[in-house]
Amino acid sequence: MTTAGGLGDEMTVAVALTVNGMRREMRIPVTHTLLDLLRARLGLTGTKESCLEGCCGACTVLLDNRPVMSCLVLGASVDGHDVVTIEGVAPKDGLHPLQQAFLTHAAAQCGYCTSGMILSAKALLDRTPAPSDQEIRRALHGNLCRCTGYNAIIEAVKHAARLMRERPAATSQYPAESHR
């Protein structure tokens, strides 16, 4: 992958993807993960870097509407795909119901797991509008939280589900179709 001269001359690859509704094109080192692409290249630091081995879920984003741990996804492999990060969750002026419910239930303490939690929960609620506690636990199994003890998070997800059923419009990820 690298030339003998050192690490500065890495092989790169072109990728074109949609991030939070906006088309982005760039060349990235072939070794970079989707997490590197988002944080280092696009400055989207709301996606958190923690264990770098797929254990903690802090780097969870949506890839074609499915939650993935971005530290385990090679950047080159997302060419042509659609990515949503925490920065793309809220409607233009306000908060997504999940974000609102995380505030109301104090489900964010240090906040480092929160982006990943919200995206895992969003993937669940987008498919399962009225999840059981068990379904919530299963959907958030991969997301570690060291602060809250999880109960507030479960309550927040249930509350958000109610809000989204009552006001489906509030769930639109990003406002402007024109970005695409």
């Binding site: 923690s50 920065e87 104090a106 060291r146």
Partner: protein
């Protein structure tokens, strides 16, 4: 409406749910280099040679440092036993021996791998009981010549010792009806915050340094950096970033000094973000402990005497260890009336990483021993464990174990409420059982200062030197300030933890933030209110004593139409005297105690102590030894619940951390090497491990806290291991005296044999 007592969402919540909060590992500046630490692979070895030639010649590498390149200074909290990099010998696997700064993290990591260190391995002391022997190798052979605080009792590998001796324990044991001796051991557990320690260091004009770091104690870091870098503290600015979890693991220097030294050498900003291996190899996880308790009781269930001999594994450097034996003695004595005590706790050097302050340091280990033994004794003498506790607990007007007078002790209420909520006395289904445990803890004192100013629009800024580690403690402090000024708390903007621009604060530690910052807010708020009313009195042509504050207005009492808005007063004040600006400082009054009964103490009494009781119902799978926690109850005296929502968050989170410590978390060592390197081999409680938690908030006011509040944050993590161990015995008839209470231990205790 009064803000104190309201379950308000945290004021800084927006940035936390939108991903906008900038954490230590997010912050970046142009031209920034990336620093990586090279660590010892041996627990104890002589360094023969460090060859950095290949690294120094690599393209993209800007600075390489070893002990030869940094000021030869020893630093440390109570004992100056640390150096930035190992000098001549390494004392634990994971100790920094060199560091590299390069234009990318990848290059820095590769450069670090290419630094060749040749070692001559030496025998390592892993077991603290071995380290205590007279013939044990000394971890610091020059211990006697190290600078140290005069109160530290130390000798050889003992780097701190504290005792409580009251009454005549020897005689009490001779005359007692029954004497029980039990031994307990606990493994180390890691804070396992999701964000590793991180720091960005920038030198400005050569002799002034700014460090952004995810630290809990910016002022302590500033002081430590001054000592290490040999420059005046006033030239160092430490700014706290967002902190992705701390729990005591971000109190002491993490990587701030290494970033600063690399940046000085490189002449460019340097950011160091640890990897998880660095966290597990060289963090400050909880002390492993070996605790022997002897307790003498009368046949009627009255405890007459207790001795404790506890050994805390300090690791290779003293860190917080000289201070913590004192804290341990108070937990080991327990929240009980015991006339005769001999409690002794020693912290001992070994060739391991520095064990330190994890949330309620020494609390869970000592409470596991003490509260497990309470149940064991109750069963031996045929008393109900709940009744046995009720016969011995501290009550209003009692003295604590070191003679501190106690007022407003709500422990009996806590026990009764927890027992009622778990259904104590009603038999559980087969395979299920209930356990109870109780305890007490401190509200750490130390100075807090705030600045408060009113803007021309009538809103307020609160500037505090206390960091917000995620608990929401500063929202609680702002609620206290809001009431002083009759403001909506949402009209208060908090700026926090910058050593250059905010007043000194003892820091986000020890369950102290809301309590002490809140008290400073009361004083600053009172002063700002005085200024506000004085200017309004001129504007309204009224006596200041006739004015009152009402929802953003200053009004004449009884004549609500005669009023001026805060905005108008604030703008007028700008022209007349330069504006509304106040400060407030607070130091908790000292807690009296009997100095004659303690030695080696840094913490002879618990300030504004909180009392609490926990109860758990568990189900045990006798085939596998798996424990499921069905329900968990916490009854905790919080003095006054400033923000019940956020307090429940502390309780629920603390319980789940405590459950992890009870059942499966551990950071074992083998051959001097830590056996966990990442979250993949350090199991953490996941969402399915979290039991439902019922939080019962009791309000028995303290005399010193804002509106009677007591410290809240640490206590919830203290009792879970004991409560779970006690419930396990009720459910399955087995008693496990070592933490964690793994499935394997339960399986073996049940008489099972591995089939593999």
């Amino acid at each position: 409406m009064r803000a104190v007592g309201q379950s308000l969402p945290r004021l800084d919540g927006f940035s936390r749910v939108t991903g906008r909060l900038v954490y230590g590992s997010d912050i970046a500046v142009p031209g920034m280099l990336h620093g990586v630490v090279v660590r010892s692979v041996h627990p104890h070895a002589r360094i023969l040679q460090i060859d950095t030639r290949e690294t120094a010649g690599m393209s993209g590498v800007v600075a390489v440092l070893t002990a030869n390149d940094v000021p030869a200074r020893r630093f440390g909290g109570m004992v100056k036993d640390e150096t930035v990099f190992a000098v001549d010998r390494v004392r634990f696997a994971g100790q920094p021996v060199a560091a590299v700064a390069a234009i990318s993290r990848e290059i820095a990591e590769e450069a670090a791998r290419r630094i060749e260190v040749r070692y001559d391995p030496l025998p390592a002391v892993e077991d603290p009981l071995v380290a205590l022997r007279d013939d044990a190798p000394l971890v610091h052979e020059d211990w006697a010549s190290l600078a140290a605080h005069p109160n530290v009792q130390r000798r050889g590998n003992v780097c701190g010792m504290a005792t409580i001796v009251r009454g005549d324990p020897e005689r009490a044991f001779r005359e007692a009806d029954e004497v029980y001796e039990d031994r307990f051991t606990t493994a180390s557990v890691h804070q396992a915050y999701l964000e590793p320690r991180a720091a960005l260091a920038q030198w400005d004009g050569g002799d002034r340094l700014t460090v952004h770091a995810n630290t809990q104690l910016p002022f302590a870091i500033q002081e430590a950096l001054a000592e290490i870098l040999d420059i005046p503290a006033g030239r160092i600015r430490v700014v706290v970033t967002g902190i992705g979890g701390g729990f005591g693991g971000k109190l002491r220097l993490g990587v701030e000094h290494i970033a600063a030294l690399l940046a000085r050498r490189a002449g460019r900003p340097v950011r160091v973000v640890l990897d998880m291996a660095g966290e597990f190899w060289a963090g400050s996880p909880r002390h492993p402990a070996i605790i022997t308790l002897r307790t003498a009781v009368r046949r009627d269930g009255t405890i007459v005497a207790k001795t404790a001999d506890a050994v805390l594994d300090a690791g290779a450097f003293s860190g917080a260890s000289p201070v913590l034996p004192s804290v341990a003695t108070l937990v080991l004595a327990g929240p009980y009336r015991i006339p005769h005590l001999h409690i002794e706790v020693r912290a001992v050097y070994t060739h391991k990483q520095n064990f330190g302050s994890y949330r309620a340091p020494t609390g869970p280990q000592c409470a596991f021993a003490s509260e497990s033994q309470m149940d064991m004794i109750a069963r031996r003498i045929g008393l109900d464990p709940f009744e046995f506790r009720l016969r011995n607990i501290l009550r209003d007007g009692d003295e604590g174990p070191t003679g501190q007078p106690l007022r407003g002790v709500a422990l009996e209420t806590a026990l009764r409420r927890a027992a009622a909520a778990i259904g104590w006395g009603a038999r559980s289904a087969p395979g299920r059982g209930k356990g109870i445990a109780c305890g007490w803890w401190t509200t750490t004192a130390g100075p807090s200062g705030v600045y408060v100013k009113m803007h021309p629009d009538g809103s307020v800024t609160l500037a505090t030197g206390c960091a917000e580690i995620g608990t929401g403690a500063l929202t609680g402090a702002a609620q206290v300030l809001a009431d002083e000024l009759a403001l909506d708390p949402r009209d208060i903007t908090i700026t926090s933890a910058d050593t250059l621009t905010t007043p000194y604060d003892y820091g986000a530690q020890g369950s102290r933030s809301t309590f002490n910052v809140g008290n400073a807010c009361r004083r600053a708020g009172a002063e700002l209110r005085r200024q506000l009313v004085a200017v309004a009195a001129e504007m309204l042509e009224a006596n200041a004593s006739d004015l009152e504050l009402q929802d953003g207005y200053v009004a004449v009492r009884g004549v609500p139409a005669r009023r001026v808005s805060y905005a108008d007063v604030s703008q007028t004040a700008l022209g007349r005297g330069g504006g509304l600006l106040a400060s407030g400082t607070y130091v908790a009054p000292p807690t009296p105690y009997d100095a004659g009964c303690v030695s080696g103490h840094f913490y002879p009494a618990f300030h504004s102590p909180s009392f609490h009781a926990h109860a758990a119902e568990v189900e045990v799978d006798s085939e596998t030894g798996h424990v499921r926690i069905l329900r968990y109850v916490v009854a905790q005296d919080v003095g006054l619940a400033i923000n019940p929502l956020l307090i429940r968050g502390q309780i629920e989170g603390g319980v789940v951390q405590g459950v992890g410590q009870a059942l499966f978390e551990q950071l074992p060592y083998e051959g001097g090497q830590p056996q966990a390197h990442s979250f993949s081999d350090y199991p953490l409680p996941r969402i399915e491990d979290a039991p439902p938690v019922e939080s019962i908030l009791l309000e028995s006011p303290s005399t010193a806290g804002p509106h009677g509040a007591r410290g809240v944050g640490e206590p919830p993590v203290i009792e879970p291991p004991a409560a779970v161990a006690n419930a396990l015995e009720d459910a399955a008839g087995v008693r496990v005296t070592s933490l964690p209470i793994t499935e394997e231990k339960i399986f073996r205790a049940l008489g099972g044999r591995p089939t593999v």
